[in-house]
Amino acid sequence: MDHQSGEGVNIHEFQAKELLRAEGVPIPPGDVATTAEQAEAIARKIGGMVVVKAQVHTGGRGKAGGVKLAKTASEAGQIAGKILGMQINGLTVHQVLVTAAADIASEAYVGIILDRASRKPVFMVSPAGGIDIEEVAAKTPEKIMKLPIDTRYGLQPYQASELGFFLFPDDVKKVRAASKIMMSLYQAFMKHDASLAEINPLVVTPAGEVLALDAKISIDDNALDRHPDLVKLRDETAEEPSEVDARNSSLTFIKLDGNVGCVVNGAGLAMATMDLVKYYGGEPANFLDIGGSSNPEKVVNALRIITGDPSVKVILFNIFGGITRTDDVANGIVTATKANPLRIPIVIRLTGTNEEIAMKILKDNGFSASSDMDEAVQQAVALATKGGKAA
């Protein structure tokens, strides 16, 4: 099950709930707070028992102590004070959601995931909700119903009903309520170009009401251009700073634990380069794809981001010029290192479009370069391991 296919921009639970509420999904009242005082005020307005929930882009908030029940408004304020500023899986909590607590008779899972195998959004529902759906999939797959949706037709009422009967085989009222929620969830999924939209848990109260207690939505990166409203929901404080910096420089960057800093054009070649570093006994410090366009500025930004990581011991460029002009890359290296001289060695592999010009530029500026990938990677790994200096 390839859950997360489609790159996704995560938005916070409270934002996802707003989007679902707008489509008519019943959700207990709540609001977001950045201070203990605000949290207390929200809890007072709601009245009764509330839940205070850390808003961070990571799972396991409950286990980490980021989700707590409060009986009174002042208790809600105290709890919020503790949760705000807390670190969960390396992310600082800047906001909490304060929401009415619901009595729970049963919990179900309802999600839509863009699936590459069927080339469709797939509904996935389970009466075993509240826990990690991947655990359900692994241990009791018969408790999961999957239904691919043909987006030319959209989710049909009969399909929503089939999903509803899978959740509540003996109660047509709950089936109707759940079906309506699934129609709304699908609307939200399509309207916002989501790659994932999840309600977990979907609860039934002792009174028989069906409610969404938690929600998660990821937006397809590629569709953001037509959703300026959703771009604003992106919370950069909830992400790794160097990755935010890279994105703002139009680079794709993921920080890893090794010491060989990699700058590559193309995701496939970038992964193959990392694999080759590992193959020769090294550890990549990152994944970094400068993409196809040959803009010296990107190279400058890439170098800045990589050298910002103190664990990086060597920089490895691997550029195969197709659309990317290797002379542009060479110029970028020269410009960046003139402005900020490197304190660690650099290994450059360049081949393809304008290779001769690039080689000359590098040579004129005191760099050497190889046109062989294996050779370059071996050299970089050697430098990272033993220390030393190239260029």
Binding site: S5, L114, P121, D220, A267, M271, D289, G321, I323
Partner: protein, 289 residues
Amino acid sequence: MSIFIDRNSTVIVQGITGRDGSFHTKQMIEYGTRIVGGVTPGKGGQKFDGSVPVFNTVHEAVKATGANTSVIYVPPMYAADAIMEAADAGIAFIVAITEGVPVNDMTRVHPFVKEKGARLLGPNCPGLITPGQSKVGIIPGRICTPGSIGVVSRSGTLTYEVVYQLTRAGMGQSTCVGIGGDPINGTSFIDCLAAFEADPHTSAVAMMGEIGGTDEQEAAEFVRTRMKKPVVGFIAGQTAPPGRRMGHAGAIISGSAGTAAEKLESFEQAGMGIARRPIEFVEQLRARM
């Protein structure tokens, strides 16, 4: 001969007057591709580069030129529309280079193209090249040389790397196809493998996969049950951490499925050769031919 394109393919360029479109059109013409027309709404009647007629719509272009192939360089928000326009106009083979096409768009485009009986390659792909005959897309022509190795890959520059190694080793290619890394694309590994198996001029296939999804496993099953020609496979992303995206939407590991280990295991079970490094394609292919 080759798969999907050859010297007789007549090609139109959608977005011919754009920055990428015009650059790569010149490259294609230089390589020898039969570019018979271009499409840019509002520029109908003009000539691109002094010789290629430009049309307002694909219908007009097809009517005037009889083109059977189209290559698309329009911006991502217009790509789905451009693909559908091409399919509707009767283009049989559509190559969408555009990167960043919203995935939901593709859930509608895919069945549309199928209904029209067309084949789509991409989006978010480098296109394809039949060395010495025709290139459609952005694969650099000079790294290729005619021969009998079929190449199919999910990524761009990694393909170039492997093709470059093959060419250096004297192993020419029948056709090199980049199928693209998007979650929903038009042509799969299996489509290409089937075409290579049927192509009398292809003697072996080099296949470059990535972590994420199950396309490679399905391809391996196809190799095992339906192919006689040798296939050597590679998986990029063995060192990628699980659950993180790697630039391509396809390059994701989630749960137990889609890991490099799993994919390589399926290659082995299919009796395929395995290249641990890009350079190993040369020896692995040589050993099987």
